[in-house]
Symmetry: C2
């Protein structure tokens, strides 16, 4: 019989135990913070009717769908994010839900992108959204929740760069170019990477006058602090009602978020943050790690006007945040200096053979009852083989049952050995 | 613009917050127990090459696959269980893995079955396997782990019904019908539901003599206790080497499992447990809840000889257990007397409007720092509306900021009201 080659699909990957543990830890941490702030989990199917998913994610999204006809002749597709399923969910269950509705959701999504380094066709998203609420309380709440997530993740200092799309609209209105939002914001977005000359050239190409472009660049320069930035923006949008409203709202959102527990160092008003031009309508934000800015955004979100307008006539505004699980894992690996190690237990109980197994298992039970993680070598094997296995797995201590029932323990790192009569004695000696 | 009807595919479902919380709790509990026993998580993609998945799950499995051609012309399919991906994983990463290899894995799987009450086309599996180990230590370890899972799940009393496929082989050998394993086991499996007359008739139809069938029925009757059952089985298989080996092994597995922490009431030797005829080769088990036997098995597993023989020439025997997540959720719902309630927080902070939001958020921060779950009504709304919302969401306490900064609290269940000056005073009053 010829073998079937064991392989994963192009753009897909397995997670090793260390990688899977690290991802589970990030997701659990975020979920715990979300729940502590009143966000409940939901789940939606991986597969949806294709018509639910199509035409929602911009130009490339449809081409990247894993779409097919099922055996019942239905056109179906794998979800490419968790936001479109949320929109379908709130529309489908509108009558049963109580709004404002706080939900979180973590799970895999699928996009048939051209595989690149660090980009996969299956990856995780981890979102929290507050649907059916407008105003500064909701916007500030999302910032409080996101800051609590990154603090709990213990990835070092982070900055939530916050803006409000209405400020950008006000600036464009003042520049006499309210219809140029898309090309101008796209140009502004390149400031950090490409430099101001490129931004000015792109704005000119879009049809903005040189004066207007220069004042836009000046107005969106971060100030020496949030109060200065806000004061500068207030001056720059004066006379534009939408712009003035945006500046006032952003100042209040910041004040509420600080009162609610966001530390001053964790938040920065940044008028260059644009994001999701067709989608976000109010506050927008990106999260950066202070020690890994080259990694780009490790989280983002913002306010939208109408989540589920394609599925229901009810207008459902909301605000949400998304935790960038994969980039956080890269950051955590870099901080740890390589792939994390995860030994299966602290203590290996080595045993001389099958007739001593009940004794070995009784010792395991006693060690576990004392709160220690302990495992047996799970087969009959020579003592040397059991020791080598412990060493390869990174288990730090090996305890061996001797013929008289005494316990011989060895610290594999230091080579230190000691003897004990029982589990309690062993733990006392381990601490020694 | 016409709306797209918001609906899930036939056989698929959304989980409400209460359902999603309940499932997450079951899965987390199992994962925590698995990890405490040295089992590390892995993850594998939802999509695999179709050739990896086909021909593995019995006659109906291929027909139930969600299979399609991707945009790269590859024939791909959604995984229908977590065992075939494990087999592919250990074969693909054989050189990098250290055996014996303990892994756990929880996640969704997909089968295009005809939808029935309580059966869905997407459902969760939650497995632990120990690969590359033979013998009683490994078999007993899986029983210890499974018992610890069900104990941690707090679903009441449970029984792990254990057997060894070799005992059944021995009994058939002694009955002179070693080749009739499949029809005879299928007949024996019906004993509880259909009665002995049906079993005898089916055995006769399969070609077993009346005497042999009767003695098989007698030999597989559970005894008055495990020792009696084992003694009866030892007599019945005497002269069959494989049968004698099976009885001896099962007795030792039981003894080790008891030493390792399985309570005597949690395990029962039951020679009628057959399971997975084509797959399992040694110990086999099923878990039943004592208070919900009609629910059937809420977990199962056993030993297999050759996990990954289709993908590698290396023989990888192992033993595994699977936690029946969906049935456990049904059992938990029944115990709780309906769908679980999950209020988003203990305390709602009601606020009079946007200029008092920083104060409201400072109170939330203080309550959270004191270890309480507290949320704000996340929008501007009349006080009555905020109270009604708390009531509908099941939030037990509402705290209202008054103009002078004092806190007015109300216990929505009892109607009791009280006043406090700050978060500490509030918590003291809540306890009162």
């Amino acid at each position: 019989v010829s073998l079937i080659p064991p392989r994963t699909l192009k753009g897909f990957r397995d997670l090793t135990p260390a990688q899977a543990l690290a991802r589970a830890e990030v997701v659990r941490t975020a979920e715990d913070v979300f729940r502590a702030h009143g966000y409940a989990p939901i789940d939606t199917p991986a597969l949806e009717y294709a018509e639910i998913l199509k035409g929602k994610g911009g130009a490339d999204s449809d081409k990247e769908l894993f779409e097919f006809e099922d055996r019942g002749g239905r056109q179906v597709a794998l979800r490419f994010d968790l936001t479109v399923p949320l929109a379908r969910y709130v529309a489908e269950h509108e009558g049963a839900l109580v709004f404002p509705f706080r939900r979180h959701h973590a799970g895999p999504v699928w996009r048939g992108e051209r595989p690149q380094r660090g980009r996969f066709r299956e990856f995780w998203q981890c979102d929290a959204d507050l649907v059916g609420a407008t105003g500064e309380a909701a916007d500030a709440e999302i910032l409080v929740v996101m800051a609590a997530v990154y603090r709990a993740l213990a990835v070092g200092g982070f900055t939530i760069r916050v803006n409000d799309r209405r400020i950008l609209s006000g600036l464009l209105e003042r520049a006499g170019a309210p219809d140029l939002a898309v090309p101008v914001l796209r140009a502004l977005d390149k400031r950090e990477k490409a430099g101001e000359a490129v931004v000015l050239a792109e704005m000119a190409a879009a049809g903005l006058s040189g004066d207007a472009a220069a004042s836009l660049l000046r107005a969106t320069e971060p100030g020496s602090g949030d109060d200065a930035t806000l004061a500068g923006l207030a001056r720059a949008v004066r006379g534009s009602a939408v712009g003035e409203g945006g500046v006032e709202a952003l100042a209040l959102v910041r004040k509420i978020a600080l009162a609610g527990g966001v530390e001053p160092a964790e938040i920065r008003i940044d008028p260059t943050v644009a994001r999701g031009l067709d989608y976000y309508t109010g506050v927008v934000f990106e999260v950066q790690l202070d020690g890994a800015k080259d990694l780009g955004s490790v989280g983002s979100g913002g306010r939208y006007d109408d989540l589920a307008g394609l599925y229901t006539k009810t207008r459902l505004p909301g605000v949400g945040g998304s935790v960038g699980v994969d980039r956080l894992l890269v950051a955590k690996e870099e901080r740890a200096g390589g792939e994390p190690k995860a030994p299966p237990a602290e203590i290996l109980v080595a045993h001389p053979g099958r007739d001593r197994l009940p004794e070995a298992f009784a010792l395991l039970r006693a060690l576990r009852a004392l709160g220690r993680s302990a495992i047996a070598y799970p087969a009959e094997a020579k003592h040397d083989k059991q020791m080598r296995w412990a060493d390869r797995m990174g288990v730090p201590f090996v305890v061996t049952l001797d013929p008289a029932g005494a316990l011989h323990a060895k610290d594999l790192a230091s080579g230190r050995t000691f003897t004990a009569a029982d589990a309690n004695g062993l733990l006392a000696a381990l601490r020694g």
